[in-house]
């Protein structure tokens, strides 16, 4: 069975009411750190299915 892929992770929440803020801290540590974080996020996602909202 195909496992599927995480395509992107946008970290944090943006309080700035004028433009979109993105966390670039990972640019410091590079792709390796993100590659380590991604499976953990994948495990969290599979832990409990999220309700889909709104129904499409």
């Amino acid at each position: 069975m195909k496992r599927g892929r995480i395509l992107a992770i946008k970290w944090g929440m943006n309080p700035n009411s004028s433009s979109l803020g993105v966390d670039v801290t990972f640019l410091l540590v590079g792709a390796t750190a993100l590659a380590m974080a991604t499976p953990l996020i994948g495990a969290l996602l599979r832990w409990r299915k999220a309700p889909v909202d709104p129904a499409k």
């Binding site: 970290w11 004028s18 993100l34 994948g42 999220a50 309700p51 709104p54």
Partner: protein, 411 residues
């Protein structure tokens, strides 16, 4: 430690939501705080999707290839009232506010519409949003609709009331454009001590407090000190915003905009400060050309959802009278629908003008390796400097190298 993590995971479990997209889905995780973009196969495994959703008909596009089904976040200018009078204020806020400002009932209806569209977060701003007496009730309404409310404040007004309701927000950032006299050089008055007090009092009651720094030529050299300050105050992040020629900022642009050398040095300066002081850093969408200048790994940028001008796609704004705008910095024509009509306007082929037509780019954007991410840079700066919002961002180092005759205000 492990027990605390498990507690946070358990309490965040009920707060996850997902929204289907043509590429798959976006899942909102309350902890760790993130929006996770997954493909269709994974969406089937991690969401309660049933059957074959209409949005998945046809081929599976990449993220960014098509406009999202709704914005990720909406920026609501809940008032344009503010007594501070900052010289570069991008909304031109004043003590009288804007004509036709909405009240609580209208903004609640706006949140209902945003929730129905599937928006995940709102950023409430102003004017001075903390001076609005119904701010807490609006935040509660957002939570009740499954939307996380976040807030930006100057910290100069309404602090007592804000401290009492700080827990209702996801993230609160205080605008702090410099330390001591630099604050006055950027804003035109000395408000540092009051902003600092707001930061200390908010941080005493809430972990997720950061600073928003509008980067100008006057405070650029002070960025490392601002990171040190954030570390000292135990803040969760520093968010860096490029100066935009909007509102009163249009007149102040030539005096406050960063120099081209500063723009080229932006990324290494910021990453060095982050590394040294171990504070998380966010940069706003208009900085993508300054990141691209250093040729970072494109795949990594995409995995971090680092996009450039995604107004009218990833984000949307609403003026104090509810008029929709692709981005809060952009003026909104009088005939523009209100945010309560977001879903119908979103689907229109002419929605948001140049923000949706970025693929038909001029050179050097058309041949730029980062164009799919950057989308031509900041349209607010392009419109102000060139008169054409769809023109390549004139402050982008690559654009400057390509067209040396683009004359920015003399520095």
């Amino acid at each position: 430690m492990i027990g605390a993590i498990l507690d946070r995971l358990r309490s965040a479990r009920g707060m996850r939501r997902a929204r289907l997209e043509a590429f798959g889905a976006i899942v909102h995780l309350a902890w760790p705080r993130s929006l996770v973009f997954v493909d269709r196969v994974m969406a089937r495994r991690v969401t309660r999707v049933a059957g074959e959703p209409a949005i998945w008909q046809g081929s599976e596009p990449a993220v960014g290839e098509r406009v999202l089904s709704a914005p990720l976040e909406a920026h609501l200018q809940i008032t344009n009232r503010c007594g501070a009078g900052c010289q570069g204020c991008y909304t031109g806020a004043s003590p009288d506010g804007a004509p036709g400002e909405w009240g609580l009932a209208e903004w609640k209806r706006a949140l209902d519409e945003l929730a129905a569209a599937g928006v995940f977060h709102v950023a409430l701003g102003g004017g001075e949003s903390a001076s609005v007496p119904w701010l807490g009730e609006l935040a509660d309404h957002a939570r009740a609709r499954g939307i996380v409310p976040n807030l930006t404040t100057s910290g100069l007004e309404g602090l007592d009331a804000l401290v009492a309701i700080a827990g209702r927000f996801g993230q609160i950032n205080v605008s702090l454009d410099g330390l001591g006299p630099t604050y006055a050089a950027v804003r035109g008055f000395d408000g540092f001590a009051r902003a600092d007090e707001a930061i200390r009092r908010l941080r005493a009651v809430k972990r997720e407090v950061g600073i928003n720094v509008v980067v100008t030529r006057h405070n650029f050299a002070e960025l490392p000190e601002l990171f040190a300050y954030a570390k000292q105050r135990r803040l969760s992040e520093v968010e860096l915003l490029r100066f935009k020629p909007s509102g009163r900022g249009a007149a102040a642009y030539r005096d406050l905009r960063c120099t081209d050398e500063q723009h080229r040095a932006f990324l290494p300066t910021v990453l060095a400060a982050t590394k040294r002081h171990r504070v998380r850093v966010k940069v706003d969408c208009s900085y993508t050309p300054m990141l691209a200048h250093h040729s970072p790994d494109r795949a990594l940028l995409a995995e971090l959802a680092v996009y450039g001008c995604t107004g009218g796609d990833f984000l949307v704004g609403a003026k104090a009278d509810g008029r929709l705008t692709a981005c809060s910095f952009m003026a909104s024509p009088p005939e523009r629908p209100r945010v309560t009509e977001l879903r119908s306007y979103w689907e229109r082929s002419d929605a948001f003008g140049a923000f949706r037509t970025w693929r038909t780019a001029q050179e050097p954007c058309a041949s730029c390796d980062y164009h799919e991410l950057c989308r031509g840079g900041c349209k607010v700066v392009s419109a102000h400097v060139t008169g054409d919002a769809s023109a390549p961002d004139p402050e982008c180092p690559r654009v400057q190298a390509h067209r040396p005759r683009v004359h920015l205000p003399v520095l």
